[in-house]
């Protein structure tokens, strides 16, 4: 996908931002059960692995030479994505969060994300392709703070006046993972 985002109106953009700010608040407040209700039962939740490939001199002079795509090991690849999840995985993760023995987050960590650069890239009968960026501040008791940075490539599906997340691909911007886990809900 390329070029400017769709030329939608400010009201349509506002509708998307309202949704994403709400979703972000649920995640920052650890209200994961409510968040789960924003997902389609068929949701695909993907996080490609990111590699440090040698660039190919035959592509020199072209943007493709250093495109983000080529460094991703995604669901279609024969590498191994970091996460390939369904509603089952996400449900287990959410249930875990409300158990006393979810040790690594008991006491719970602080979460605060800025969701920005929200762009509607395509719309096709009720399926909205929306890309956005996030910077997430994550502070776990007794350890340092971490910054999670990434892009989310979503497919939202319009349910009467609400949205459901049908697909989310989280492109995490790591070169080396110096994070305690990438198993958070992004």
């Amino acid at each position: 996908m390329n070029g400017l985002s769709l030329a939608i109106s400010a009201e349509q953009q506002r509708e998307l931002e309202r949704f994403y700010f709400f979703e972000a608040r649920l995640l920052d407040n650890r209200e994961y059960q409510q968040w789960l209700a924003l997902l389609s039962p068929e949701v695909q939740y993907l996080m490609p692995a990111r590699t440090n490939l040698m660039v190919d001199n035959r592509e020199r002079g072209q943007e493709s030479m250093i495109s983000v795509e080529r460094e991703l090991e995604d669901a279609e690849s024969m590498g191994c994505p970091l996460r390939e999840e369904t509603i089952i995985h996400l449900t287990v993760r959410v249930e875990r969060a409300y158990k006393i023995n979810s040790w690594s987050e008991n006491p719970p960590a602080r979460l605060r994300r800025l969701v920005g650069n929200i762009e509607l890239m395509a719309e096709d009968e009720g399926a909205l392709t929306v890309w956005s960026n996030f910077h997430l501040h994550y502070a776990r008791p007794g350890s340092a703070d971490y910054r999670y940075s990434g892009q989310r490539r979503d497919v939202l599906q319009r349910e009467d006046d609400a949205f459901l997340i049908r697909r989310r691909e989280v492109i995490l911007d790591y070169a080396d993972i110096e994070l305690p886990t990438v198993g958070l809900l992004f």
Binding site: I88, V92, I177, G183
Partner: protein, 427 residues
């Protein structure tokens, strides 16, 4: 001088916090453990073609593992002879030459120096044959697993692996094409000592139902208590596994079926896995056909997860820092769709995004914190569970016992202590 007997008691049932936190111990480990062991570098399936290479580490030392023009496997230290820059900057690829950024000295994938651009302007040309990358002194592979050693006099790899081959083959040999590593390892940094992940997978399966009780049902622990074994083929190595009853339905025994990919992968995956299990007995024999591995460990820092189908290496980065690598492992001959499904047996629970690994990572980081505590030297860790309760077994090589027996860890630290003593003696 380290007081090794104070660090590890005679029977290794009490161990000092300083083993995980003291910088002097770490310095000794580099020489005594990593300077004298076979260290895992990668799998041949990662570098099938001439010119293929992947990065690897031996302790903190960066190594290039590559397939030379001649089709042989080579391992060289990734540091230019001129001024030391890493000449290979990518995590993997295929190339004819490694060109050093700084002055563009160039090397073959097998480490030979082939050009010094600057030499045209001087009279005495350097002898390139003496200026290649430093080769890893010893290199060997078994079942495609490639190991290297800094110790030129180390015993042969097969002898080093010893009876661990029996346990590894219990899985590898089930697959006509053996195993394959999928893509790059997942790498992440933890503020923990390198030995903690190692101990965990060497035999500590009994943390499962406790550390992971938010995810792992108590029943899983009961099954392990009932059918589980822990075996130590030689100090520092170990294997834990379940031996399923003879009358257990194939579904319960088959590798892969109990994981996310097996359960939700659909008929093609399940068909494939049943098929494999159907032939298991003829391939690995009746006993091993009933084996369902749990975790394995190979001294000093290689681990293997059976059901979660992964190899892991714990690369030290200092007393309190580790770079942890893990690879998804699948049968080489499985269809692509099946491989894709099976890799989630690993990634759903392990690796940096895994539902279980997030608890393990925290536990290891917390143990490091505990190990750095002062004023507690008189209060050593307790490694005494099941002391002396292990013994030989008719069907399984090595010393064998229940999984709750911490003999796997006592053996690890006895060997560890003796290895350090050997260095202390010479240095």
């Amino acid at each position: 001088m380290l007081d090794l007997d104070d660090l590890v008691s005679e029977d290794a049932s009490r161990i000092s916090r300083r083993c995980w936190s003291d910088p002097a111990v770490y310095a000794a480990e580099k020489k005594g453990i990593f300077g004298r062991a076979w260290l895992f570098l990668g799998h041949e399936s990662q570098i099938p073609k001439p010119g293929d290479f992947v990065q690897a580490y031996m302790c903190e030392t960066p190594v290039i593992l590559a397939r030379g023009e001649d089709g042989e496997v080579y391992a060289s230290i990734n540091s230019c002879t001129h001024r030391g820059l890493p000449v290979c900057r990518a995590s993997r690829g295929n190339t004819r030459r490694f060109v050093c950024p700084y002055h563009n000295w160039s090397y073959t994938v097998s480490g030979d120096l082939v050009s010094i651009p600057q030499e045209s302007e001087v009279n005495n040309k350097p002898d390139k044959s003496k200026l290649g990358l430093k080769p890893v002194p010893r290199l060997a592979s078994w079942r495609g697993l490639v190991f290297g050693s800094f110790d030129a006099d180390i015993l042969p790899l097969p002898d080093y692996l010893g009876d661990m081959r029996f346990y590894l083959d219990a899985l590898f040999e089930r697959f006509p094409g053996g195993i394959e590593f999928m893509g790059e390892p997942h790498r992440w940094i933890l503020n923990a000592n390198w030995k903690l992940p190692v101990e965990n997978q060497l035999g500590d399966v009994n943390h499962g139902a406790f550390l992971h009780s938010a995810i792992v049902p108590r029943e899983a622990q009961d099954v392990i208590a009932e059918l589980g074994y822990s075996a130590v083929t030689a100090p520092g190595h170990g294997a834990t596994f379940r031996l399923m009853p003879e009358d257990a339905p194939a579904e319960d025994v088959a590798w892969g079926l109990e994981g996310m990919g097996g359960i939700f992968g659909g008929p093609e995956v399940q068909e494939y896995l049943r098929e494999i299990q159907a032939r298991a007995a003829e391939r690995v024999g009746p006993i091993r056909a009933r084996m369902k591995g749990l975790t394995y460990g190979i001294y000093p820092n290689l681990s293997f997860l059976w059901s979660n189908t992964s190899f892991k290496v714990s690369h030290p980065r200092g007393p309190g820092k580790v770079e942890y690598w893990s690879w998804a492992v699948v049968p080489a001959d499985a269809p692509c769709a099946v491989k894709r499904a099976l890799r989630t047996n690993y990634s759903s629970f392990f690796g940096p995004g895994g539902m279980l690994e997030q608890e393990d990572s925290e536990a290891w980081m917390q143990q490091y914190r505990g190990s750095a505590i002062d004023f507690a030297d008189d209060h050593k860790y307790f490694y005494g569970l099941g002391l002396g309760e292990e013994g030989p077994h008719s069907d399984f090589p090595g010393q064998v016992s229940v999984t709750a027996n911490e003999f796997y860890a006592r053996n690890f630290f006895s060997r560890w202590r003796d290895d350090l003593a050997r260095v202390a003696a010479i240095s």
